[in-house]
């Protein structure tokens, strides 16, 4: 008697939870659906109340027209160059530093590690102006270098920390054996340690991709010639462009978002482990 009652109560609670989660899901998805819907509308149906959620006819041409209003293909190229360079630099130099912190002994190592972590507390706005002036003095304004060079010099404290934490969990026996076989430190790092870091490096690469792809302030400060714009900068410029309306704006915005969404669907597991790793270890 009491048992069946308890089961019934439990089922009711589960049903309510399910209902709340479903309602929430719709609310969370609605902005995306709204975006897709707008991007496929003929101009005459954009500013209409009540809105037509499924436009007729479906204007796939909006994507082409929006994309070609400005040289977005060029912006895509620029964004890819910057993003690729930043990811490569981050993976390489952050893992080198992490290896040094977790495996090699050198004077001042622990102090440097603490300083590295302390930079997390420093808002980038503090260093923004002197760094800008420095790049101006070496004549690098309006080039991609200010946006990429930092990644080749350490790759960010979070990434170093994450890779180091991951390295700590790898047993050192394999490395010691390689050392006895006469393998150099660089060889051990590259051939023994790096292959074991695959998951961790993939996580770092994904989050570096998202941050760089969507970065706005960096390009805004450093890139002035329209030919050098990134997608983020191009989109912002597009917004104020004469005659651009919502359906084009949404179409191009969706294209810009697409790689991030695609990456998420392809590597969902990595996202979840990665976030958990950062969240719990940080």
């Amino acid at each position: 008697m009491t048992h069946t009652r308890r089961v019934r109560i439990e089922l009711t609670i589960k049903f309510i939870i399910y209902l709340i989660l479903c309602a929430g899901s719709i609310i969370f998805l609605l902005p995306f659906l709204w975006m897709v819907s707008t991007s496929l509308k003929p101009a005459s149906q954009v500013m209409v109340y009540p809105p037509k959620w499924i436009p007729h006819p479906l204007m796939w041409i909006n994507y082409v027209k929006g994309w070609t209003t400005l040289p977005f293909t060029l912006y895509l190229e620029n964004t890819c160059i910057i993003t690729f360079s930043v990811i490569a630099g981050t993976l390489f130099t952050a893992s080198l530093a992490a290896y040094s912190f977790s495996r090699l002994r050198w004077p001042g190592r622990d102090i440097v590690f603490v300083i590295t972590l302390a930079t997390l507390m420093l808002p980038s706005q503090v260093t923004m102006i002197p760094v800008f002036l420095m790049f101006r003095d070496v004549g690098w304004l309006d080039t991609f270098k200010p946006l990429t060079v930092g990644a080749w010099l350490g790759g960010g404290a979070v990434n170093i920390f994450l890779i180091r934490q991951f390295m700590m969990t790898i047993p050192v026996e394999l490395e010691e054996a390689a050392r006895l076989d006469g393998c150099s430190t660089l060889g051990i790092y590259w051939r023994i340690v790096m292959p074991q870091l695959k998951t961790c490096l993939a996580v770092v690469a994904i989050f570096t991709f998202l941050a760089t792809w969507n970065d706005f302030m960096g390009p805004l400060i450093y890139l002035t010639t329209p030919d050098k714009y990134t997608l983020a900068l191009g989109l912002q410029f597009f917004q104020g462009h004469y005659g651009v309306t919502m359906h084009y704006l949404m179409a191009v915005s969706l294209i810009v978002m697409a790689p991030c969404l695609l990456l998420f669907f392809l590597a969902q597991k990595l996202f979840v482990t990665g976030i958990a790793l950062v969240g719990i270890k940080g």
């Binding site: 040094s100 930092g150 998420f264 669907f265």
Partner: protein
């Protein structure tokens, strides 16, 4: 014996050299992009500098001017309000959703995907989407309000609701925090719940005396990150409102950016950056200090 120790010290020296080499890019980066700029920034904050003529030392004048700058206070006020409301709101909402999802409901992976999806996208594209959603005449927000027979809002175009719109929009991004909570919840040892059950604890008591205490480190992490992030809002404000209407969304970093790159008042902007640093540092230390009272300790407390 002697030869061995010489060999050992040579090995140690070699290792130290290699260690420095491996950390070399980082060391260089710290020097060029952190240590030097921090000192330089502090110096610039004591000067009048328009980047075209050499900096002129003016002592504390920039900081004194800040005190009398009503826009500075406005930006600080706006950012603080945003932080005070949006951070706890995101904390609670993210935690609540994670709790619901942790109840062994079916399709948890699908829910997790949906709630996290907005956190994958950010920047200009998302800001443009929300400008359109908040459109007072044809935007999704007012479409929903009309459908529910509620009064429509002017959202970003009214100084009274503009900041609230930003807070509302920030709730779309609770997925990031939610996933961290979810990972934390799944890491709570099952035997704690079992022994609580044996002691006759009900659902609320289990939550209050097992889940909550075990989650305090995660809550702490999300709180600190949330505070730091909320004081650095820039892109949304720049793209969606450029600080308007009537400076109602003049976020701190937006105003700082304007001083630096529109008016070229580098000294003044640097002073603002240092004030921002001081605020973030003070808040973080405050949370850190308070943490001894509520992180972990909660689990020790009886009753």
């Amino acid at each position: 014996m002697n030869g061995n120790s010489i060999f050992k010290s040579r090995m140690a020296r070699r290792e130290a050299l290699e260690g420095l080499l491996f950390a070399g890019p980082l060391l260089l980066g710290l020097l060029i992009f952190t240590l030097f700029p921090v000192l330089d920034s502090l110096y610039i904050s004591f000067t009048k500098y328009n980047i075209f003529t050499p900096p002129e030392f003016i002592g504390l004048q920039n900081y004194r001017n800040l005190v009398n700058d009503s826009l500075f206070w406005q930006s600080l006020r706006i950012t603080t309000i945003y932080s005070v409301i949006s951070v706890p709101l995101q904390l609670v909402a993210g935690f609540a959703v994670a709790l619901l999802m942790n109840q062994k409901v079916r399709g948890i992976t699908i829910f997790r995907t949906i709630y996290y999806l907005p956190s994958v996208v950010s920047g200009v594209a998302v800001s443009l989407l929300w400008v359109w959603i908040f459109n007072p005449d044809y935007g999704l927000a007012n479409v929903m309000l009309r459908a529910a027979y509620l009064p429509t809002q002017k959202w970003l175009t009214d100084p009274r609701t503009a900041l609230g719109s930003f807070i509302f929009m920030s709730l779309w991004g609770i997925g990031g925090g939610m996933i961290i909570y979810l990972a934390g919840l799944q890491g709570v040892p099952q035997h704690l719940y079992e022994s609580a059950s044996m002691d006759g604890a009900n659902i609320y008591q289990k939550f209050r005396h097992v889940t909550l205490p075990m989650m305090t480190p995660v809550i702490f992490y999300n709180l600190v990150m949330g505070i730091i992030g909320s004081f650095q809002v820039f892109t949304q404000a720049f793209v969606m409102t450029s600080g308007g209407p009537a400076n109602a969304t003049l976020f701190y970093v937006l105003y700082l950016f304007r001083q630096a790159f529109n008016y070229f008042r580098m000294g003044y902007a640097s002073a603002m950056a240092w004030v921002l640093f001081a605020i973030i540092l003070a808040l973080t230390l405050l949370v850190l200090k308070s943490s001894s009272a509520w992180v972990y300790y909660e689990g020790e407390r009886k009753r």
